[in-house]
Homo-oligomer: 336 residues x 2
């Protein structure tokens, strides 16, 4: 596509981190989608990423329509630099694209003894509580917290009950979805994973009596990522597939992200903090489980286990993904 080699390497690393962590929907399977967006002039392979505004602890970054996989790590690095000087750093990003998994970016803070935060808005697939209209994305939040002897606490979750990727898997397998995931075109609860193709929507986290809270969370992610930065929000967020048209009359530039880094020793010594995080983690992990088959987990445990497995055994790819990658190799005349 003409990406500078260093940026292509970075994008590769972000995609592979998703595959290693078992989040296959956000890994190399997405590569062909990015290429299609580039072919449609929606992704700029050689962006001039720049800071459009800053204070000691904040900045707005203009991603110049670059790959989110390239824009986001640079913005997170800036948040980390700000935190080194001001205690914390907060960077809102406009004019970007899909950034892969939020967890990758939040985890960049860990080696600096910082807490990392990453969020992004996304194509509108989610109806606010009481609404028929799709106005929010699955808008994920990731928070990474360092520990001492224990592995880091890494929460990374969509603000819907289920991310869109899980729905796609059910569609392929022709299986029903659990309740509280989806509503149909009339706003009624549905278990048909294909409802989104006929006017249905994803439901915010919380289900029947709690979805107003998931709606609040998704809204906060949208506001921090896009209204603060000057990106598109709500129904104007650009779709991540090239065959869907852009919204008319955009209200900002591209999609938006929001990153935070907090230096632990801006609050207390990293040694004290990490010792207590170890205690927090072991207390929760060792608490009595409801059943022996399902132990109490710490956020990040399943992905860490998967990473260890795939580093040993490799990353299994579905045949359609292999075919996509082969077609890309041919398209760009790559030797395999």
């Amino acid at each position: 596509m003409g990406c500078p080699e260093e940026e292509a390497d970075l994008a590769t690393e972000v995609l592979l981190s998703a595959d290693l962590r078992g989040i296959d929907s956000h890994g190399v399977a997405r590569l062909i989608g990015y290429v299609r967006l580039w072919e449609n002039n929606r992704i700029n392979a050689t962006p001039q990423i720049k800071i459009s505004h800053e204070t000691p602890s904040t900045a707005v970054v203009d991603g110049d329509s670059g790959l989110g996989l390239v824009v986001a790590p640079q913005a997170m690095d800036l948040a980390i630099q700000k935190a080194q000087v001001a205690g914390t750093g907060w960077v809102a990003v406009k004019n970007s694209n899909h950034f892969g998994i939020a967890g990758y970016h939040a985890m960049k803070a860990l080696p600096h003894d910082m807490i990392g935060i990453a969020m992004t808005n996304a194509s509108p697939l989610v109806a606010p509580t009481n609404s028929l209209e799709r106005l929010l994305g699955t808008n994920p939040i990731a928070v990474a917290v360092p520990a001492k002897e224990q592995p880091a606490f890494v929460a990374d979750f969509a603000t819907t009950t289920a991310a869109n990727g899980k729905l796609e898997i059910l569609q392929r397998k022709n299986q029903e979805a659990p309740v509280d995931w989806i509503q149909d075109a009339q706003g009624k609860s549905s278990t048909n994973p294909n409802e989104l193709k006929t006017g249905g929507a994803l439901i915010p986290l919380g289900g029947e009596t709690g979805s107003h809270k998931g709606y609040c969370l998704g809204a906060v992610v949208d506001i921090f990522s896009a209204v603060l930065s000057g990106a598109n929000y709500g129904p104007w967020v650009p779709p991540f597939v090239s065959f869907l048209p852009l919204a008319a009359n955009p209200v900002g530039d591209g999609i938006g992200h929001f990153f935070g880094a907090m230096r632990i020793d801006a609050f207390r010594t990293a040694e004290d903090f990490k010792t207590h995080m170890d205690n927090w983690i072991t207390t929760f992990r060792n608490s009595q489980a409801i059943t022996d088959e399902s132990p109490v987990l710490i956020p990040g445990d399943p992905e860490r286990k998967m990473t260890a497995k795939r580093m040993q055994e490799g990353i299994p790819l579905l045949e359609p993904v292999v075919q996509d990658l082969l077609s890309l190799a041919q398209r760009f005349s790559l030797q395999l």
Copy 2:
């Protein structure tokens, strides 16, 4: 109790803000509970609140066992002051007590054209996903965002499907709870609102297929509020009722809070931001509702409506609350 008059006034304002907003469980009904904690030497009526550590954008505040109603507004003011200089301000608080409604504190940022954030940990009533043990509080998060012509966006929610106050109402009315609110002592889903008295627990936001996300959120609130500040976390958080004993071997001081203030113009002009917030709010509010009876709401709408009503009609108090207040008046020889 011997509170300085200014601090007593502040505490009163925080409690009344809850009653005005319709969150009766956090209003003057709680006054007698605070007095009991003071009688048990768990609340210090004349705290020396001090900053124990700070950087340009952060601080840790030691609440000296004061009323959270007094400690929290001072900590939020400090976050606002930090934001005026550094762009953002983040204050973790230890050695505090129950702080009333999170929304009051977050909303303090609004007149400064800042986004306000407030969260607190709380007595352990919530079992993490897969666990039988109560290790987290209902750990609320509030986010307040200013708009221009539209009223502010104010999200304020517990990270469980239902706050404990809603359960207490069902207990009084002898009604069943919805599914996804509670588990019994064996970890099975239950609709009996009295389960917490016999070893049951509240369930994190998200229900059967999503509670791991509510667990993540509650955990982040606990870590930011207490592991960062040096307060008690998890099962060690002091109970908010005086008849329950403190945990043995505390891991920190009192309960913990976390506050944030972000100056809008540290990202883009307040004028631009607030104009787009108006557009965000009207777009969501005017979206097509599933039924005419339940319009699409903006976070803060129900509480704003209730405030308007109660400013007109007064705040209705339940008879037991009136009796508690009368007994307090007698206890402290107040003229009524």
